[in-house]
């Protein structure tokens, strides 16, 4: 019962963060929201008894890809300023 409740809350949080990631105009906020989606998803995988997938999702989805997005974002911002 309590697990079901946690799962429902997590699913709602994932949906909310996904909507924020798509709709927010600030790219930094969108990237962080996408990272949080991955973080909640990894907890969800743990609830679904898939710890292997949860580890991958936590390390790659919310850790590395967020940081890579930030690096690329910083690079693009700089390039835009150069060309403008």
């Amino acid at each position: 019962m309590i697990l079901k409740l946690i799962a429902i809350v997590l699913a709602l949080a994932i949906l909310l963060m996904g909507v924020i990631a798509v709709e927010n105009k600030k790219l930094v906020v969108a990237v962080i929201a996408a990272g949080v989606v991955s973080l909640f998803a990894s907890v969800f995988y743990l609830l679904l008894a898939a710890p292997d997938v949860a580890m991958t999702e936590a390390a790659i989805g919310s850790g590395l890809s967020t940081i890579i997005f930030f690096y690329v974002l910083n690079k693009i911002k700089k390039d835009r300023k150069d060309h403008a």
Binding site: P51, D52, A54, M55, T56, A59, I60, G63, L64, I67, I68, F70, Y71, V72, N74, K75, K78
Partner: protein, 234 residues
């Protein structure tokens, strides 16, 4: 307007499809043939306590080889494009100073993260985790190191050498399996050992170590390439 109606139609069609599929497929009451074979025969045939590892490394080892190759391609393409751009921007870097707390904490935590990554892929056949996860954890440790000390030079030759040697060894172990045991990437050419101990499951720990090193080197290469071509630090 027409576009929006079209989108709504597609969404509605998708909803109908999913709604029908929801009724069709409940949770399976029993494993299908392949899964039952993995679950019942896996411990004897492969000898890995972590059943997922025996599927990933042995039964579906070729898929893993493909995944690692795709990751290698992605890393090389990113490296290629960034290198092509790096040559024509030689301006000195402006580095914002990192905070004292981050710097000190990174010094303490980074070795522990590396060690944890190595633990995850060495124990991949016993506990959840494995080569991909361990490699990703090692790369996250590198990210922390680079965030704390942005001017640090990462030696790309070491990354390249580790990456190449472990990829080569991975395929070599697969060929050993082909020659000495049942087929490509068969782990049984080394003794299976006692179930659940570190030196068990034949070649699975060795293969996982090489996958871990390869993935770690590839992801580290991507991150450090991106980091080095930043003009202005975050």
């Amino acid at each position: 307007m027409l576009k929006k109606i079209f989108f709504l139609l597609v969404l509605a069609g998708f909803a109908v499809m999913l709604f029908n599929a929801y009724g069709l497929s409940g949770p399976d009451q029993q494993l299908n043939d392949v899964a039952a074979h993995y679950a019942e025969k896996g411990p004897q045939e492969v000898g890995a306590a972590n059943l997922v590892a025996s599927v990933i490394v042995t039964y579906r080892g070729l898929d893993t080889l493909g995944e690692v190759t795709i990751l290698f391609l992605a890393a090389s393409i990113i490296g290629f494009f960034l290198k092509a751009r790096r040559d024509n921007q030689r301006a000195p870097k402006q580095v914002r100073k990192t905070s004292e707390i981050l710097e000190t904490a990174a010094k303490v935590i980074t070795p522990v993260i590396f060690l944890f990554g190595i633990y995850v892929f060495i124990n991949g056949h016993l506990t959840p985790g494995g080569g991909f996860q361990g490699g990703a954890i090692i790369a996250s440790g590198l990210v922390l190191m680079l965030l704390a000390n942005p001017v640090k030079k990462i030696n790309h030759n070491i990354i390249r050498v580790i990456e190449s040697i472990s990829g080569f060894s991975f395929i070599l172990l697969g060929i050993f399996g082909l020659l000495l045991a049942g087929g490509f990437l068969d782990n049984a050419f080394l003794p299976l050992g006692d179930f659940g101990t570190l030196l068990s499951a034949g070649a699975v720990p060795l293969i996982y170590i090489f996958i871990g090193l390869k993935v770690g080197a590839e992801l580290s290469g991507i991150v450090s390439n991106l980091q080095e071509t930043q003009k202005e630090q975050i």
